[in-house]
Symmetry: C2
Subunit: 701 residues, 2 copies
């Protein structure tokens, strides 16, 4: 069904609804993003204020207890939500969204319960002081919102809007979810262009120009919503929110002018970022595999793991600053130093008046504020070298062990924190000879580490530019990102790709593997093929549906209708169920298609939302009906894409991927055999499957 062939009114309705939906997605994502930040800033702010005030009164043990207590309670809330209600809300969510947009219909990835847990779990998790970000979860949240709106609410929770249930095919849904993912990035970073590019570079598998425009609109809406809400909050109407939360790091008063030493240092930063990044990915993968063993033991174990990591993180944040020396506050400072109440980013910790503890300033604060401190220009000596080294290692390893526990956890913030700390360290070390400000070095360090782990280039570059509002950094940033990605690509894959593989999601790459050139499509066809005759006995259909879990069956026109058996088309399981439910059966083998067609509206066969389709148990057929016949013509797709069995597997894989298919018929080359050899699905192209059939094939040839 192509909307272009509808009536004018319907086209208008369709286009209008589609735009309305992306508008709603933008609004909702913007609101959620703002609410998320507001909640985190207020909860974490309250917690930090409590601890800070107790510290000022020298009641150190009580302060420690307060901090750990708050963190553990928040962490437990997040973990309980995540482990008991929606386990799929754990982690970043970006790999899942990526896989969904590639065509993987994994169960519950975008369910309403996931959305709920993602929002609140992320708030509790970030507020609990974990080294996690809210960016990945925001992307997942955006995608969930898009899915919920796109399928017209959730049937399970009795929230449905009929007028929204207009988008029933894969493509429209995918478009909306791409918009949602872009809106998520835009809401997390306040980076509308970056959001569009992220959706394009990392998330989407298929892309059209029209989609670019729609995504852009969504992120523009998000930007406007956020801007007006922040304007509203400026006058301290939003509790502890203040300026902060939605990160926008101001480094614009530092003019980037650089000399040769700077350039060399930047090249080095790129290489270091690439190496650190690939090691990070390697370790994350190992830790994830370990955790998945623990997580499989049950929800209670998951919660326990979260509590352990939470206590570890709290101890690190509270324990280590004791080893740092006190630094006298710099003169001529606009900020309050050390921190009084809520203002100022210089924490006094155990230090006397007029002094601050630099490590505490980084550790005992929200992650956003820590990044802001690291990026802050001009004051080169704000952090000591030892503090920066320690902070880097803390963030690097806490980031690794935190990802994979049962809370929604983004990877951007930990990576930016670690990267910015070694970048600032480089700036600090080079300050006698370098021209560039150490805040800019921190930015470049963050860029290099991001490039090394996530392997995106253009979108990261634009996101960082939008975060820091300094276009003049563009050439340096590009350089750093290109180098770190190139270096890291020599060792392993990007972190999101690794997670997709680890989770066993059947992700189809855009290119075919080399060994596929030596196989033909017929080689990988597997399993017994079940075909239906064009006018089939009801009993046979019910039996086949019961026995197999196939989603599509070839329909074959046989001699009474045509001269020789020939392939009529493909019929989908869901359509068969609708037809069986309708009970348009005939006593004899005869064509009753035209009549059937009248009874149904095209809409009845539209793809249902996740978990909303008919099940075989819903269809109730008695023994007498089992012996009757049903004409499958009206529901058969008579133009399925097909390849000859001798077609190179590589070419079949390219066709499958580029056309976004779910089923690909394989037809015989020579006549005189049954008109269809088999059906290829996504799983048949997976390396595991192909290499399982042909274990001795040379993978690299």
């Amino acid at each position: 069904q192509d909307w272009r062939s509808r009536k004018k009114v319907q086209i208008f309705q369709y286009v209008f609804l589609k735009w309305l939906l992306v508008l709603l997605i933008g609004l909702a994502t913007g609101l959620v993003g703002f609410f998320n930040n507001l909640a985190v800033e207020n909860i974490a702010g309250f917690k930090l204020l409590l601890t800070g005030n107790l510290m000022l009164k020298d009641r150190y043990y009580l302060a420690f207890a307060a901090l750990v207590g708050c963190n553990v309670v928040l962490a437990t809330c997040a973990a309980v939500l995540c482990a008991y209600i929606a386990p799929s809300a754990a982690g970043s969510g970006i790999p899942e969204v990526k896989a969904y947009l590639n065509g993987v219909d994994a169960h519950s990835i975008l369910a309403p319960s996931t959305l709920f847990v993602k929002i609140f779990g992320s708030i509790f998790g970030v507020a609990a002081g974990f080294v996690v970000g809210k960016e990945g979860p925001m992307v997942h949240t955006g995608a969930c919102i898009a899915n919920l709106l796109g399928q017209g609410g959730s049937k399970k929770y009795h929230l449905t809007w009929k007028w929204l249930r207009y988008f029933k095919n894969d493509r429209d849904r995918r478009d909306l979810i791409t918009c949602g993912a872009a809106a998520g990035v835009a809401a997390a970073f306040r980076a509308p262009v970056g959001g569009v590019l992220f959706a394009l570079e990392e998330a989407a598998s298929w892309w059209r120009s029209a989609l670019l425009w729609r995504t852009f609109f969504t992120t523009a809406v998000v930007a406007v919503v956020l801007k007006s809400l922040i304007e509203y909050c400026k006058n301290e109407k939003c509790g502890l929110f203040g300026e902060g939360g939605l990160i926008m790091f101001n480094i614009s008063n530092a003019v980037p002018s650089y000399n040769t030493i700077d350039l060399l240092a930047i090249l080095l930063l790129g290489v270091i970022g690439g190496i650190f990044g690939s090691i990070y990915n390697y370790l994350v993968d190992k830790v994830l595999r370990t955790y998945s063993i623990i997580n499989e033991k049950g929800p209670a174990f998951r919660v326990l793991l979260v509590i352990i990591i939470s206590i570890l993180t709290s101890c690190c944040a509270f324990g280590v600053p004791w080893f740092a020396k006190c630094i006298p506050c710099p003169d001529h400072l606009k900020e309050v130093c050390p921190t009084k109440g809520r203002s100022g980013s210089y924490k006094s910790f155990q230090c006397p008046d007029g002094h601050y503890n630099d490590l505490a300033s980084l550790l005992l604060t929200t992650n956003d504020d820590a990044i802001r401190s690291l990026f802050s220009p001009l004051n080169t000596n704000e952090f000591r070298i030892a503090s920066l080294v320690f902070f880097f290692f803390a963030m690097y390893f806490l980031g690794i062990i935190t990802y994979g526990i049962a809370i929604p956890s983004g990877l951007f913030i930990p990576v930016i924190l670690a990267g910015a700390s070694y970048g600032r360290l480089a700036g600090r070390l080079l300050s006698p000879v370098a021209n560039l400000d150490c805040g800019l070095f921190a930015l470049l360090g963050a860029a290099s580490f991001l490039g090394g782990t996530m392997r995106m280039t253009v979108s990261l570059c634009v996101i960082l530019l939008e975060l820091t509002d300094n276009l003049l950094m563009l050439p340096l940033m590009m350089l750093v990102l290109l180098i770190s990605k190139t270096v890291a690509d020599c060792f392993n894959k990007g972190v999101y790709d690794q997670i997709v593989i680890m989770k066993g999601l059947p992700f189809l790459e855009a290119h075919a593997e080399p060994y596929m050139r030596h196989l033909v499509a017929g080689d990988v066809v597997s399993g017994p093929l079940i075909t239906f005759s064009a006018v089939e006995k009801v009993g046979n259909i019910v039996h086949s549906l019961k026995m197999t879990s196939h989603n599509a069956f070839p329909v074959i026109d046989e001699p009474p209708i045509t001269d020789a058996p020939e392939l009529c088309g493909l019929v989908l399981r869901s359509h068969l169920l609708v037809l069986l439910k309708g009970k348009m059966f005939t006593k004899h083998r005869c064509l009753s298609g035209a009549e059937t067609l009248k009874r149904y509206h095209a809409f009845d066969f539209a793809k249902a939302g996740s978990g909303k389709g008919l099940k075989l148990e819903d269809v109730d057929i008695d023994i007498e009906e089992m012996e009757m016949y049903v004409d499958l013509h009206p529901i058969t797709n008579t133009s399925p894409y097909a390849v000859v069995e001798t077609m190179s597997l590589a070419k079949a894989a390219v066709a499958f991927r580029e056309l976004g298919l779910r089923h690909l018929c394989v037809v015989p080359k020579t006549p005189g055999r049954p008109p269809v050899v088999g059906i290829l699905t996504r799983h048949d192209f997976m390396p595991e499957h192909v290499l399982g059939l042909y274990p001795h094939i040379d993978v690299h040839k």
Copy 2:
């Protein structure tokens, strides 16, 4: 041939060469872009200085003669180059690049002569004071450079580098040319991210994530080259170049803060931009059709047309400012006012000391400087209302009548000029109630008109942001672009799409037309089908090649080899010619494929660059050989993509487009007939062809 299956050394060589090439493309495009600007600034600067000095001496007639003389000479140079050497260098070049990347191999689009004319024609054209830009031509130039480097130099001009001749397939070439187009935009606007997005949104038809990265690298190189060259030129080492040329409009000292009236005004600007834009496109189309009649009469007519337009433009630029009143110079100005020699943008024209002529300041200057004046913030009353109104109409209509004459002419600059003038007019009119600066209004006006004509959104937005270096304008700019595009899309297509259609380039849209759903693939197969037997008589092949211009022929295995005739695959004309030239013939019908295969290297069959392939006349076969046989197996592609004749035409079109095919086999549904019904090519999917066969079909159904 997939590079992944090569040996490690070869893979390394391949990857290295590909990166080296994009580096070279970036360097070359950056250098050409800089040279282009330098030349334009110097030539136009000299011309304007001459005229200005004569005006200061009150020798008005002589000044007019000097201006017209210079303009006509420059215009004639550009026109002669264009009309006699490379007619395809006329116009913007963006539509041609777009069509090439869609798979249209139009003759000489990217030939070296086109490159030469494009560079120098563009310099002369812009310097001659035409209302044209150098941006479109830069895109075309970048693509030409990429093509030249990608095919390892030009054989025609005896410039070949063998080590560069590594990329012989369509996909590698297309990738390089996409990079070239992005580099062109980056060089023209100094907008690296904008360049990437332009290549993605407007130029490329197929896109992969890897390409994003490579394009990004190219534009980064361009940005670095330009930046270092500009640094070098800062100390007046480059003649009249000074700061200017590579446009970077500084509006960053104007902070965008806006109220409701501003927002309403911006919405209105968007609507106006959409309406003006669609009218512009309509008129450009009409004028182009008229010009093409004149242009077909011969090169002399083309040159004449250019001279007429040049004189008209000069008269307008010199004549109209007489009607403008003199304005006293504003106080507290850093700039010199009125202009003395080269400094200052306030032209005195006929005015007394301390006064300037605002219309002359816009008309008697380079286009870049005029834009800079229009975008200049703070001084709201710099231009009178009447002047802005007149300037708008002048630019609007001169832009329309200039595009299509035989010079390389970009559309960006005329559109920005016209848009900025009505934007500034709006700012001027609203200045009592509006908060926003009139320079920012001019920027938004330019955005709205660009959106209305070119119908790009994201890339325009980013290009304008990079041009003006002011990220805070992002939400407003997005709003304006979305509105103007939406409004304009109600009336007609984007200007580049219109030109592609007008030039008759067979551009394949990403979606199938609605009426195609009612046809099947077999319906549009046309022409007599010529098939070869797997072991074919040489004479038959030569005869078929002579008689038809088909590029691919189906090869059929016949009974001596197989039981029944079956489709073996497709063979390409170019491969047949190589085989015929090799003269591996046999006396009898026998399989000699294995032997043949040994004699050839895969490289021999690689796709040749434009105009470099073998021709039938090059192959010299005597009568005796005509009676011999040749085994086609080794050169047959045995896995051609094929569809059944009853496949819906819409689905076949989607497959054709998405897989980037050139030939699609149509096979019969029922056995017992010849194993191939026909071959579909790009032209068979064109609306003209389909509607020619079925004139009574309802186009909209």
